[in-house]
Symmetry: C2
Subunit: 153 residues, 2 copies
């Protein structure tokens, strides 16, 4: 049974303060990045565009371009990193979802106005030189959301 | 620190038996679909393209087009559906990742050859009239993967 949704679209209203425009990334927590990359190539034919160590987040990450969306594999580089804690609690798997927005600062202002719980109160540097901020999963119905500012991909 | 990955790419090898070409969908388990849709519109400016009840899977789903990738919100319609069990065990959040492939049947053959554990041994009908099959999270490093056969999106 298909039901066409009503189209009282936020995106078409004048003055809409926030619009997610794209999925920037899907991040997966892995215990061993080399092993995970070998699996994604063998099983799905996916290979990394680049690898990066982000010491401020305690991760080494590999980015696989899947039709314009980044699949990000995240391995902890120290025991006290958020990814290490996530793996210890939940095991490997889907970790967070990255949404592209025109301005992370404006998006944070909007989410604060909407009483959505944040992790980062201000935009900060993330992987690949992007400006990012994280929204708390308790604010979004269980999904850790990263806001990623639009630029060249 | 950026490290360019070596490019011994599977995708460029002759006779590569499997290539994921795109992210079809990111699925999120929600206890209340109406409430979740109201949140995604209010917080992120995202509205559904359509809603569908898939009785064979025990779900009602709403599909939000985020720059060409489907964000799929899944609410259980009965207590014994996989999504109801997932919510009872894990709470709401990221549930599965859908990869687009040219042929689900060929992809299943390839994954069997690679000893990757499957949930569906044969292609089957999924939401929106698509041909799909699920790969077991124990076969993929913790991620429930849905293979979705390419067609018009």
């Amino acid at each position: 049974m298909l039901l066409r949704a009503s189209t009282s679209g936020f995106s078409s209203r004048a003055g809409a303060p926030m619009q997610v425009t794209r999925v920037d990334q899907i991040a997966i927590a892995v215990p061993d990045l080399d092993e995970a990359l070998a699996f994604y190539e063998r099983a799905f034919g996916l290979v990394p565009e680049y690898r990066e160590r982000v010491d401020s987040d305690g991760v080494e990450e590999a980015m696989l371009d899947v039709g314009g969306v980044w699949l990000q594999l995240l391995q902890p580089t120290r025991d006290d990193s958020p990814i290490a804690k996530y793996l210890a609690k939940n095991g490997p798997g889907l970790h967070h979802l990255g949404f592209g927005v025109a301005s992370v600062g404006d998006a944070l202002d909007h989410l604060r106005d909407q009483d959505v719980r944040l992790i980062d109160e201000e935009p900060r540097p993330g992987g690949g030189g992007h400006t990012v901020a994280f929204v708390h999963p308790k604010g979004t119905g269980g999904v850790l959301v990263e806001l990623v500012e639009d630029d060249a991909h």
